[in-house]
Amino acid sequence: MLFFEQHRTLEIDDWIKDHYKGEPIFIHNGSVNSEIISKCIETLENYLKKHKPISNPKKAVNIAIELLQNIYHHGLPLNGTDKYGVVKIIQLNNGLQMEFLNLINKDKAILLYERIQQLNVLSKDEIKRLHLLILSNNEYSQKGGGGLGLVDVAKKLNKKLIAEFYPYKKNNYFYLLKILVN
């Protein structure tokens, strides 16, 4: 499906309330600042340490750190909330469902859509090579990672990324990334 063929809308409140019959571990709807990132990581780590629900808890925490900081660096404001984002972490029977939503402009949405499409057709070895290439290319982005974040998540996850884009007003999109770690 081409990017412009997606015309779905997202009822954010309904989506936040839907816990897929699992156990909610961390839900946040609002500004994603440094304190919220710390709180989310601490909550997730404590839960994983206590309940040991997945075989590689560090992988889940690493991915959560990267995607939380992605919202921190790239999220647009919404309704007076700076760096607006929604974070939803749910324990399901088959793993840990982590979902991250933020608002981005149309150009960035198209760029991300294309990048995710490209990543999803690469093999594990190809993603590893791409990761090495970006890591060693001497380029820094304004936020420091030089475009490495999503590739790093794909490398750690070792499965296809599931991303959804929902139009919001004229030139913005909600970008929703759904990750299952098991």
Binding site: S34, I37, S38, I41, E42, N56, K58, K59, V61, N62, I65, E66, Q69, Y72, H73, H131, L132, L135, S136, Y140, K143, G144, G145, G146, L148, G149, D152, K156
Partner: protein, 126 residues
């Protein structure tokens, strides 16, 4: 040359760079929102140390987590250490990883493939 000693926090690692012993250590978490700001003085310190280093420099890296912006900065640290090797000095990077943390082991191997400095992979109990 004055050492760098920085206490670790929930988002930044503990750092102990000692020019008189030639031992450089980074331990803990490196997940700050602004990694460049944190690593800049460390990289500058190594550049100064490079003017008169110990015959052998031992680098101990023991990270629990690091974000992608830190990964670029860590590579910059290693590139400064590579300069020491190019100038004829001995450097070894001891890359510690917890026994069940395959991502951390792989990250060390990635650096090893980029940087021409001897790496020693050291498994530690989690």
């Amino acid at each position: 040359m004055e050492p760098i000693i920085i206490e670790g926090t929930s988002k930044t690692p503990a750092v102990n760079f000692n020019a008189s012993t030639g031992v450089l250590e980074i331990k803990g978490r490196s997940i700050p929102e602004n990694s460049i700001e944190f690593f800049k003085p460390l990289i500058e310190w190594i550049e100064k140390y490079g003017a008169s280093p110990q015959p052998k420099t031992i680098v101990n890296i023991q990270l629990e987590y690091f974000n992608t912006s830190s990964s670029k900065c860590i590579l910059d640290v290693f590139k400064r250490l590579e300069n020491l090797v190019n100038n004829g000095y001995d450097v070894v990077i001891n890359w510690h990883y917890e026994e069940d943390d395959e991502d951390m082991l792989e990250a060390g191997e990635d650096y090893q493939s980029i940087i021409k400095v001897p790496f020693k992979m050291i498994e530690v109990q989690s």
